[in-house]
Structure formats: C-alpha cells, structure tokens
Amino acid sequence: MELLQQLTFLERGIIAGLIIGFICPLLGAFLLVRRITIISEALSHITLTGIAAGVFLSQTTILMGMINPLYTGLIFSLAGSLLVEKLRQIYKHFQELAIPIILSSGVGLGAILISMSGGSYNEWYNYLFGSIVTVTLGDLGFIAGTGIVALIILLAFYKELLSISFDQEFAKTSGMKVTRINFFFSLLIALVISMSMKVVGILLVGAMVTLPVAASIQLAKSFRQVVVLGILFGQMAMIGGIYFSYHLNVATGGMIVVTGVVILILSAGLKRFRKGLA
C-alpha cells in the first residue's frame, strides 16, 4: 500500500494507461466482429451524464462528497448498456436506432446536470479529453478494479462470445445460454467504457476500443491474431501517446488517439505492401 502511495502522478497515469490499452482492444475485437463498435460512443456519452450526476450530487449533498464521480459514471454506463440491448429488441428491424437514442439522451441530460453542477472548465475539459496527470490513487483503484472484473468476464466467456459472434444459432444448438452470456457482454462493455474515461476522455474512448483492432484486422487472418495484435497496438498507442504528449506538452488523450491512427495507417500500408509482394 505504501508503495502505491509513493507512485508519482506520471507513474499512476502510465499504469492506468497500460491497463486500458490491454482491455480496450480485447473488448474491441468482439465489438468489431459483432459490428457494434459504435456502441462505445453511446456508452461514453451516457457515462458523461453519470459523471455529471456524480459531480452535481457531491456538491449538493454532504454524504456524496466522498464519492468519486467515476462510480456514478459506471452506474449510468451499466444502465445505458442494458438499455441499448432493450432498445435493440424493441426496434428489431431498426437496431441502429438504439445508439443515437442513448447517445443524445445522455448528452442532453448531461448538459443539464453540468450546468447545474457548475464544475470548473478545466474539470470538464479533463473528462471530455482525458487527463493522465490527474489520475488519483482512488482513480487507479477504480481502473484496476473494473479492469479485473472485465478480465474475469472475458476469460469466462471468451470462447462463447466468439462462437455467438460468428453464428448465434449454432451457439444455441451447442448448448450455450446465449441470452445470459449477452447480458454479461453488456456489463463488460459498460465496465470497459467507464474505466477508460479518466485517461482517454469521453470523446476519445471509442478510439481505444476501435483503432487498435481496426489496425489489427488489416493484418490478421485469425480471430486470435486480431486480439493479440490489437493488444500490442493498444499498448503501443498508449506508450507512444504518453511519451509524445509529455515531451511535446500536448493533451495526452489526443496524442494517444493520434498515435493509434498512425498505427492504423501503417498497418494499412503494410497490408498493401504485402499484397504487392504476393
């Protein structure tokens, strides 16, 4: 514990970044093959609503003063994830509607709560674009905790999620409880989105889920390769982003995303180069 307390702000940020850079692409691989990467946008915005609610409550009630808004963000993200699933069932033939409905409701409600909470401009800027230097020990605990739960869900259902993503009907006939597994998948998405918030920010969290696997699928033949390369690219984006933002003194979240985009462009180039050789 003492060792943890001795961590500098930068070390805390880097550890948080590496955890996120590991888990996000792992989730992203499943979102990719299910063609629902866009869900990360809806959930990140509803997480903003939760954070705004947390900030608002912590200012108005005494009891709430000690609660980290990341937790209220998580609760909203979980609710949002389950709501998306519900909306998909209601709009069976227009499933894509679920995303803009949740996204705009989240932003609308968030705007009201932000205007009521009166947090500083800087504080909201950090939530929107991420801030590695403001990761507190409490935040790191939150990120590690949610990260462990997410990892447990992923290990438990890795095979099942892959089989369901490829062919849901077959997964059912092989005896899998598809509805139950999908419920855990919704929880998993919510966990990962809310854990990434602090480092990459609400507006950029989708990038960490999407960019590494968008790059890895250029080069991968198997699902396993999508996952392994995705994690590798996620780590590279994190380390590169933190390094350059520190030395160039620019926003970390933005630099992480830009590094991810550069990796994407390089892998697309490598694919063309390989094709040219073949």
């Binding site: 093959v33 063609r35 290990l155 438990a156 259902f157 890795y158 095979k159 099942e160 892959l162 089989s163 490829f166 062919d167 009907e169 077959f170 997964a171 059912k172 006939t173 092989s174 005896g175 899998m176 699928i217 991968a220 033949k221 198997s222 699902f223 396993r224 390769q225 999508v226």
Partner: protein, 270 residues
Amino acid sequence: MNKKPAIEIKDLSFAYNGQNVLEDINLTIKEGSFLGLVGPNGSGKSTLIKCLLSLLKPDQGEIRLFGEKLARFDSWSDIGFVSQKANSFNSGFPATVFEVVSMGLYGKVGLFRFLKKKHKEEVRNAIRQVEMEDYMNANIGQLSGGQQQRVFIARALVSKPKLLILDEPTVGVDAKSVNRFYDMLKDLNVNQGITLILVTHDVGAMTEYVTDVACLNRHLHFHGDTKEYEEQEEDMMSRMYGHDVQVLTHNHDHPHDHSHDHDHGGKHRD
C-alpha cells in the same frame, strides 16, 4: 429393426403469426437411420428442425431426443447441426478454418476453460474427415461455398455427435461437389453409425443415399424406407404438391385445362 429411437415427435403443431406451419406431426426416427426430410419450399421443414433443436417452441406436442424430453435434454454435444444459413456469415469475419471448427467444441469444454491439446487434435481430425486439412489456417471467408459447407460439417462433427442434422446443406454448393458431399454423409452413417437427418427440397439425388424418407408439407404425408418411398413416389408427390396446386388455381381463378375437357356444357359456369 429393434433399434432405439433417436427422435420421437408426438402430435406436434406449430403456428407462426396465427398460421399453422406444422400440424399433428408424429414421427419417430430410429438410431442409425439416414432420413431424407423432403417437401416443397415453405412446407415447414426448417421449422420442424428448429423445434427439434429447441430454437423454436412448439405450440403443441412433445419431442424426445434419445428418450429424454426436450426441456430436460442437455447433452447438446450429442447433436450436430448444419444450418441452412450457415454460410450467410460476414465473409470478412477474421476466423480460420481451425477456429471455426473449434467452435463445435466450445459448448462441451465449459466456461473459463480453453482448448487443450487433446481438443486441438480432435479439431484437426474433424477437419481431416471432411478433407479440408490443406486449409486448416485459411480464412473461412475466402473459401468456396462447397468448402465452407465442409467446414461447417466438421464443426458439427467435432463434438462426436450421435445425431447430425443438415438443413439444405447443398444450397450454394456446385453440382460437382454435391455427389461427393452425399458420399461423405453416407460414409458417416454407414461406417460411424451416426444418425442423419438431411433436409432438402432436391428429391432426386438424395434417394440414392438415404435409408428412410419423410415427406412434409404442413402435415407429414409419408414416412417409410426408401424402397416404399420409391414405390409410392408418384402418388405421394401429387398428394403432397397437389394441395398446393389446387390452392394456386383457386386463387388465380384460372379454369383447369383438365376440367375444361371433361365438363361438357359448362356445368360450373359460375
């Protein structure tokens, strides 16, 4: 013929949007048989299969798999299924043949566990069985329709099922591969004792391979061995398809050419 039944269906009915798709189906399929389930498009073949696999819940009737009531049945690895829609997956899906076939074992292996050496060998064996070993690490989306179909059969076979159900497996497979494909099924049935159900609307080719035939068009019109079927084929076909023809002529209000010849004096002028 004292073999145990693999499947028992009693008084089964299923309605979709208030319309009866299956009515009073009674069918027993013995272990070791190779059943061809035939019927025109929309005759309820796929619906019956989905009821068997617990993908749809019948409105009435009872189904038993290997003696066990469907609701209590849980040895799903004993049943292999190749769906009609199997190759309608996203062709960009990043999965190799090996990974797809592995999926057939996932239900059996259980949560938190990954494939062990022994499982991987089983996957390779199943791939060899359908003669796709040269494509072990190929991307599934880049194979031809016939090759994909073989991979899906390997996925169904890898859990060593006692019963294999194939729903229109030859759709999208080129004519040359179809006979080879049927030969492979016959081999599974004869040499490995797997009970097979082959759903098809292509009646011609399949009678050379199957041991039993069932004809379905909302009702079960016929169930017996291939010999009986061939004796009654013509009669049966007209019974089964005849119903449809009548409905069609009725709807379109066309006078039957036939009736015209016989109806002297226009008895049915109205």
